[in-house]
Amino acid sequence: MPMWAGAFNHDILGIENGCGHSPALRAATTSRVMIARALGIAVTGLATFLATSTPSMAAPKRWAGPQGTTYASIEQLPDWSGTWAMPDRERSEFLISPAAAAPYLAGYAEHAKAPKANPALCLPTGMPGIMAVPLGFEFLFTPGRVTILSEEGPTIRRVFTDGRAHSADPDLTYAGESIGHWEGRTLVIDTTAIRAKSEYFRGVKTSGQAHVVERISRVDHDHMLVDTVVDDPGALAEPWHYSFVYIRSDTEFIESYYCDDNRDANGEPDLQPP
Amino acid sequence: MNRLPLSIFCALLLTTAVRVNAAQVSSKWPGPQGDTYRSIAKLPDWSGTWAKPDHVSPKGEGRPPEFSPPFRADYAPALRTQTTKANAEMCLPGGMPGIMGVPLGYEFLFTPGRVTILVEEGPTIRHVFTDGRAHSADPDLTFAGESIGHWEGQTLVVDTTAIRPKAQFFMGTKTSGQTHVIERIHLLDHEHMQVDTTVEDPVALTMPWHYTWTYVRSRVPFQESYYCDDDRDSNGEPNLEPPAPTH
C-alpha cells in the first residue's frame, strides 16, 4: 500500500470496487472533504513521489504487478470505467488560477497580458491544462495502452503501457507523447513532446519543453485522484506540483466541437434568437 | 466486524448482477459480445491503426446516393467535384456517415460493453454500445450519432441514429437529421478490414444507399490533427511567410 494511502480511511480502499459505502465514509464524503484529504495525501506523498518519478528516457523498464499488456492482465487492474469530471466549483481552488501559478511561471507577466486561450481559437487546451478542464474524461484500457478521452477538443491521449521508452524524434502535439506503467493501483504517466502551443491554462502556453508526470488512482467508487508534477525549463521557475479530484459523472461522454454553432464571433455575440 | 458481511453481500449482489447482464446480452445474440474482458479476448483482433488509402477506389460496387428532390439541387454537384462547403472548412468534423470514408486513420478500442472508434479527422470519437441497450428515446443529435452494436461471429454490426443535420454524407453535403446508418465491419485478412454500409434517410434519399470501403492496416500510428490548427491557410489565401530556415 503506498505511503500516502495511510491518510485515507481504510474503508475507502477496502471497498473501492464495492457497491456501497460504509456509514463512516458516507458521512465524511463531501467532495470538499475528499479534496482536502487528497491534498493532504499529495503533500504527504510528495517527497516519495518526486524521489521515485525521475524522468525516464532509458530502455523499457519491467514493472512489478499487472501492467495491462493483455486482456487477462487488464482484468486485474482497477475499474476506471464510466465518465469522470472535475467539479466546476472546485477547479478554481486548485489548479489553474493564474494567481496560484504566478510563482511558478518565469515571465508570467508577459503571458498574462495577451493571449487568447486555445478554445477561443477552436483549438484544444493540450497538456497539461487539458486534465483540469471541467469537462468529462474517460479512461479506456486495451492491451498495452490506456487511452484518455477528454470532451474538450476533443482530445485523445494515448498512454503506452507496453514498456516502450519515449521516442527519439517525436512530433510535438497537444497531447504529447505519453508512456505509463502501473504501480499497484496507480497509473504513472510520463509525458513529453508537448508542443509549445499547448497550455497550462487560459492562454498561458507551455514552452515546448514541458515534462509532465502524473500519478492517477481511483480512491473510491466515485473519486479519482490526479497528482501532477510539471517541469518546464522554458516556462516554469521550478517544478510545479498540483492535485485534484475527479468525480464520477452520471452523464455519458458528450460530443463537443468549439467551432460549432458559435454565437460568439469576434467579440460580438449573435443575438438573433432561434 | 460488521462490515465484513456487508462486503460479502455486496460482492454476491455484484456477481449476480454481472451474470444477469451477461445473460441478457448473450441471449439476444449468440457468440461473444465483448461484455467482459474475458469475452473481448475471444473477439477478433482489431488492434493497431487502420487507414483508408488516399487514392484507392473502394472494393466492390458503389453507386452514388439517390438524393430526394430537395437535396438533389444542393448536393448533386458535390457528386462530381469537390465543393467549397465541406465541414472541414469550418473546422468541423465530417460526421456520420461520411467520417468513415476519410482517407485517414482509424482505431477500434474494445472495452466491456463498448467499441470506441477513433478517427483522425475531427478528431472523431464514436461510442458504439455493445451492452445490449436499445437506442435512447430522446437523444441529442451529434456528428457521431448514437451507435449501438453487436457481434455476429467476427462481424461487428453497428446501428447509428441521432445524427445531426450538419453531418455529411460526404464532403459538401448535409444529412437530414433522420439518417440511419447500418455498418457491418469485419476483417478480410490480417491486413484488410471491410466496412459495408447502408444509409437510409427518408428525407434526403429516395432509396437506401449502399457502399463498401476497405481499410488497410497501417504501421503509421494515429496522428493528432486539428483543422483549426492550420496556421497557413486563411480562407482562400495561404500565409506565405516562410518559416525560419532550419539548420
Binding site: C122, R248 | H55, P58, C91, Q223, S225, R232, P243
Partner: protein
C-alpha cells in the same frame, strides 16, 4: 454519495471566436496547370493538417526567393506516399512540380518532388498516380 450530474460547462469556456484560419478547399490553386522550379530545401514544415515544403529558388541576380508548397497531412504522406520527416534535408537540391497559386505568389499545391538522387516523391496530386477517391473529405465511391 451521489455521483456528479455534470452540466456542460460551455459558459466557462472563453467565447470561441470564428476561426481566423480554416481548412480550405483547393480553389486557391490552378490545378489545370503544372509549373516546375528547381531550388534548395529551406525547410520541411511537418504539421497537420498540411505538410509544407519550402525551397529557395535562385532569382538569377545572386539572391533567392522562398517558395512554399502545400501537400497532404503527415498521416497521409507517410501512409500513402512513403515520405517521412527525413526525406529531404536542408540544402538538398530538388525539382518541384506544382499547381500554382491563382494569386501568382510563389508557391502552390505540391505535385511531385524529384531529388538529386533521382528519387521521386509523389503526392496525391502527382500526375499519373491514380486519382484519389476524394480530395480531403469523404466523397462517395465512384
Amino acid at each position: 454519495m451521489k455521483s456528479l450530474k455534470r452540466a456542460f460547462f460551455a459558459s466557462l469556456l472563453l467565447a470561441a471566436l470564428a476561426p481566423a484560419y480554416a481548412h480550405h478547399s483547393y480553389a486557391m490553386f490552378d490545378t489545370t496547370k503544372t509549373l516546375t522550379v528547381t531550388g534548395t530545401v529551406r525547410t520541411l514544415e511537418w504539421a497537420s493538417p498540411h505538410v509544407w515544403l519550402w525551397i529557395e529558388v535562385s532569382d538569377g541576380k545572386g539572391g533567392s526567393d522562398p517558395y512554399g508548397f502545400e501537400t497532404v497531412s503527415p498521416a497521409q504522406i507517410q501512409r500513402d506516399y512513403g515520405w517521412d520527416k527525413s526525406v529531404v534535408k536542408v540544402g538538398d537540391k530538388v525539382t518541384v512540380e506544382f499547381a500554382p497559386l491563382r494569386s501568382g505568389k510563389n508557391g502552390g499545391e505540391l505535385e511531385k518532388v524529384t531529388l538529386e538522387s533521382g528519387r521521386v516523391l509523389a503526392t496525391r496530386f502527382t500526375k499519373g498516380t491514380p486519382a484519389p477517391a476524394d480530395t480531403s473529405g469523404s466523397n462517395p465511391p465512384k
